[in-house]
Amino acid sequence: MNGKRVLGIIFANIHEEALDSLTAMRTMGSVPFCSRFRLIDFPLSNMVDSGITKIGVVTNANFQSLMDHVGTGKPWDLSRKNDGLYLLPPFSIGSATMWGNRIDAIYGNMNFLRQSNQTYVLMSDCNHILSTDYGKLFDAHEESGADITILGVKGKMPKNIGSVLTFDTVDENGRITEMSLDKKTDEDVFYSCNIMIMKKYLLETLVTTAHSKNEISYQRNIIMSNIKNLKIHAYDATDSFVGTIDSIQSYYDTSMSLLEKENRNKLFKTPISTKERDDMPTIYGPDSSLKNSLVADGCIIEGAVENCIIFKGVKIGKGAVVKNSILMQDTTVNENSKVNCVIADKNVNIKDGVELSGTKTFPVCLTKNTRV
């Protein structure tokens, strides 16, 4: 199936509550990730790579940073005369207010759906970091004759997010015959990443019906209740890199997992595009020492760094020692300070000689612009 026939919808705000201070002033989609990206870069790049040319980004409040980041859409080649990138905030049309839930949000953007001339719609949230060839998903959907195909992976049940579907029984054709919502289990499950494809008219119909009945749960009222009426298939993406961000802890763990080469190779198999900021290369000073770390451009490293994720423009002074930490854009760690198991948001300043330490299971979070 040609990606041109598929409309992409990205929900930029879903599950923000799970990330606490990281989403206090930004959408889930604009959370910084892996030294130089933001979470929305992954669904955007995957969609564009599969040939999708029109993408709507549904957002509620706090979308300034998202708007700044996706801008005109140029980094993803989505700055187009026809199709391209559409930001879909609330209050943009008379009937649209803040979206209360996913059904609301889709219903409020029904005009956008109707005015798009694609046949299919692919929906994705931003909290599953994965790099997968959606083209294969499209082909699987077309070949199976499914009404809806949902991408899932096998692994531990994500925590801290509401409304996680698990595919409990899948028949030999890939059709899901039994599913559960928010299953309590510590065993491996086959769970939904909330990335799904269906015909656009089907989504329009399902959402219009659910809205008219004042139903509020997309998962329960649209997916689960139609398990008999519709052929809902599972697409297994377990062989892709999948990181599910469902808490500060899983944000930290997923970030750190990219220090493994194998994970990087999977996630960056195809290039992930992002907004560039034209930094110079990172400069390492005479006494710097770097071990097992990922570093973006524009840093000046004069201290010691181990097991860290370092974003653009970070400065680490002489004698400073930073371990097991995530330092976001333009954060400065001044001379002789000691930092361990810390997540520092943008533009944090850790003063000379300060010592800060969390643990790997309880990283200390510093909010944007904090001076410590």
Binding site: C34, S35, R36, K74, L259, K261, R264, L267, F268, P271, I272, S273, T274, E276, D278, D279, M280, P281, T282, I283, Y284, G285, P286, D287, S288, S289, L290, K291, N292, S293, L294, V295, A296, D297, G298, I300, I309, I310
Partner: protein, 402 residues
């Protein structure tokens, strides 16, 4: 489309740059990688944009494919415009036959129509082989203030080196009264940087006149400037201070690269008010491994570093494996230095592969005969086979396997 535009810049990117040898075998000189994240042309282009000049003609007739591809629609330099923007200008066929660009002045002459579309007051002429940050808007202001016909940017060079440059003699108010190309006895130490501002009506007149002059080399330095001086036009020298380096030779290119990590050199690429833009490769962050030792170096995104790097510039997507040793070298994008390989005082071009235990170059102090010293250059996509030694000063051609 072509609104009136006060200043149009014309960038002479045409030179084959034969002094850069294997590096310019397949790419035009301005497209040669520099400083880890850049190519030479990023400097004049970024200077233009930062100076508020958004209409730039890039003149080239030699190997434009990679340059065209690099410039693309101009987006990385914010030059993807409806009005103005970046235009690569190759020679074309008119009725009555076609002509390649004969000299720098002829290249501009052949593009008079392009310039006229914008009806500019001033034309800035730039070249594509210098690394420097310069506010051309200030130079245009200087030109206006002096009511000049031509303004030439000058740099004070050490007196003992002055005879290697085009030297301008000026009076107290910066007016030029003499121009001498590589004079034996220089009258001043003000060297032309090859950056000119012309009032367009004057330049046009001299271009046409020069084109009709039998035997002219159609060159700015050799013909246009002397002719204007002789005719008594108002010509001024605009003093420039700061980092400026010609990267027209292997040695100067190598040196200019290492300057970005030299704290004693006045070239600040981190200045947010004067960013140098470049087309990036959409790579992940670089990774520094558990056993790597990296000191005094610059490393760009997409690299995987497991070996040792000292006093070197490592461009994007370079792989340096465990136990490899890189010192005082410039590694261009995509090159691979395999296990145990040694790279000393070298330039390794794009996507070259140095196989295990090969050795490129030598540390000068360890050379038996220091006279033989020189920067070895490994051309793009070349492969240096396992255990092979490439001596200082040797050039390996692009794509060759040695």
């Amino acid at each position: 489309m072509a609104h009136k535009t006060e200043v149009v810049a014309m960038l002479l990117a045409g030179g084959q740059g034969s002094r850069l040898g294997v590096l310019t075998k397949n790419i035009a000189k301005p497209a040669v990688p520099y400083g880890g994240n850049y190519r030479i042309i990023d400097f004049p282009l970024s200077n233009c944009v930062n100076s508020g000049i958004y209409t730039v003609g890039v003149l080239t007739q030699y190997q434009p494919l990679e340059l065209n591809d690099y410039l693309g629609n101009g987006q990385p330099w914010d030059l993807d415009r409806q009005n103005g923007g970046i235009h690569v200008l190759s020679p074309y066929e008119a009725i009555g036959g076609a002509e390649w660009y004969k000299g720098t002045a002829n290249a501009i002459y052949q593009n008079i129509n392009f310039i006229e579309k914008y009806d500019p007051e001033y034309v800035v002429i730039l070249s594509g082989d210098h690394i420097y940050k310069m506010n051309y808007a200030k130079m245009v202001d200087f030109h206006k203030k002096n009511n000049a016909d031509c303004t030439i940017a000058v740099l004070e060079v050490p007196w003992e080196e002055a005879s290697r440059f085009g030297i301008l003699a000026t009076n107290d108010n910066d007016e030029i009264y003499e121009f001498a190309e590589k004079p034996k006895e220089p009258k001043s130490n003000k060297a032309s940087m090859g950056v000119y501002v012309f009032s367009w009506d004057k330049l046009k007149k001299y271009l046409i006149q020069d084109e009709n002059t039998e035997g002219s080399a159609n060159d700015f330095g050799k013909n246009i400037i002397p002719q204007m001086l002789e005719s008594g036009e108002r010509m001024f020298a605009f003093p420039f201070k700061g980092y400026w380096k010609d990267v027209g030779t292997i040695d100067s290119l190598w040196e200019a690269n290492l300057d970005i990590i030299n704290p004693n050199v006045d070239l600040d690429l981190s200045d947010k008010s004067w960013r140098i833009y470049s087309r990036t490769t959409m790579s992940p962050p670089h990774y520094i491994g558990k056993n790597a030792v990296v000191e005094n170096s610059s490393i760009s995104e997409g690299c995987e570093i497991e070996g040792n790097v000292d006093y070197s510039v490592i461009s994007s997507n370079v792989v340096i494996e465990d136990g490899a040793d890189v010192k005082y070298s410039v590694i261009m994008p995509g090159a691979v230095i395999k296990k145990g390989a040694k790279v000393y005082y070298s330039i390794i071009a794009e996507d070259a592969v140095i196989e295990e235990d090969a050795k490129i170059g030598e540390i000068p102090e360890l050379l038996e005969n220091p006279e033989n010293w020189g920067i070895p250059v490994i051309g793009a996509n070349a492969v240096i086979t396992k255990g092979k030694y490439i001596e200082p000063g040797v050039m390996v051609k692009s794509g060759e396997e040695v």
